[in-house]
Amino acid sequence: MVEETNIATISMSQQFSAALKRDLLLSFRRKSDLFNPLIFFLMVATLFPLGVSPEPTFLADVAPGVVWVAALLATLLSLDGMFRSDYDDGTLEQMLLSPQPLMIVCLAKTLAHWMTTGLPLTLMSPLLGVMLFLPSDAMLGLVLSLLIGTPTLSFIGAIGAALTVGLKKGGILISLLVLPLYIPVLIFGSGAVQAAVAGLPIGGYLALLGAGLALGFVLAPLATSAAVRVSVSG
């Protein structure tokens, strides 16, 4: 005899860690996913001295903005893959059919995305800082601002990726949807680095980035899961 109702025996935290492990495992199996954004990050930063001026004082001036813009673009580039491959092979629709809230999986996927793009970018940023003659006093500010700011980029980006996953050419559309929402993060992020360069306290900027992160953490998975449902049902 078949049981009347299967009682949910998996807790939300178990599902969360399973989803996180799965996505991390997938990124590590596909090394290019892991390294391409980093290489892109490096290349974009190289373009500025070549395209504008190799003058150290000038580069030091623009470094906070350049590193932040490069990090933002590298994140943007990696967004399309967040749900795309799961959508293509049908695993995404299976996630929708879990009796557990989809939000949990979305949160885990977003965090996995950050751990494989935002976090490596943050760790690599001092290298770019050196290349762009960013004063060494400002390195800590750069790393801290990226550490708090890049998860927000992943959270916002996840919404865009989820909205466009059902479309064949989602890549450019993601940028259109997500970039305007990234602007506040960019402003406060590069502002923090600029303040660090000037030797000013950066607590206020980091607090604002943190506020954005807190909002993103609680609101973005909601929007992302709703968007995934819409995209898969279309």
């Binding site: 809230p101 939000m103 360069v197 000037a198 807190a214 609680v218 609101l219």
Partner: protein, 153 residues
């Protein structure tokens, strides 16, 4: 409580916690001077960093504007009715620039404590009035002056 209700409750709690953390952090941030905007009092008091790009705002002191005859160089004093700071600027000033007008300047403080502006913008106040009214007010000495606290943020 059934698991569904529990989930909802957890979600609502999470939302409340997240939003309050965000609000708390934002309030903390607003208490910091994060716009790099300084008043003449702060500049004279040494609060503003030297040789870094900052923004400063104040009123142009009456009779302080000196224009260089050969170049576009202008020097004037800026005040918040407490302290004065000398400002130097090379370039075309906006139409609304005049003595007694509120301005916002971007630039850096040099070694002599003079504000070297790279940009001067007129901050026009929100009092719109016809010219006759302005003349009458001027004559009576009742022309509204921008509140001091505007420059003491």
């Amino acid at each position: 409580m059934n698991p569904k209700r529990k989930q909802r409750l957890a979600l609502v709690l999470l939302l409340v916690v997240g939003v309050s953390v965000a609000v708390g952090l934002a309030l903390y941030a607003l208490n910091q001077n994060i716009n790099l905007f300084y008043s003449p009092t702060q500049i004279v008091g040494g609060e503003a960093p030297k040789d870094t790009r900052i923004r400063a705002g104040g009123m142009v002191v009456e009779g302080s504007v000196k224009r260089d005859q050969e170049s576009l160089r202008v020097q004037f004093a800026m005040t918040d009715y407490a302290e004065e700071v000398l400002v130097e600027y090379t370039g075309i000033l906006p139409d609304l620039f005049r003595e007694g007008q509120g301005i916002v300047a971007q630039g850096a403080i040099d070694g002599n404590g003079v504000f070297q502006a790279v940009e001067v913008l007129a901050k026009h106040d929100e009092n719109y009035m016809p010219p006759e009214v302005a003349e009458a007010l001027e004559a009576a000495g009742k022309m509204p002056k921008p509140a001091e606290e505007v420059f003491n943020k």
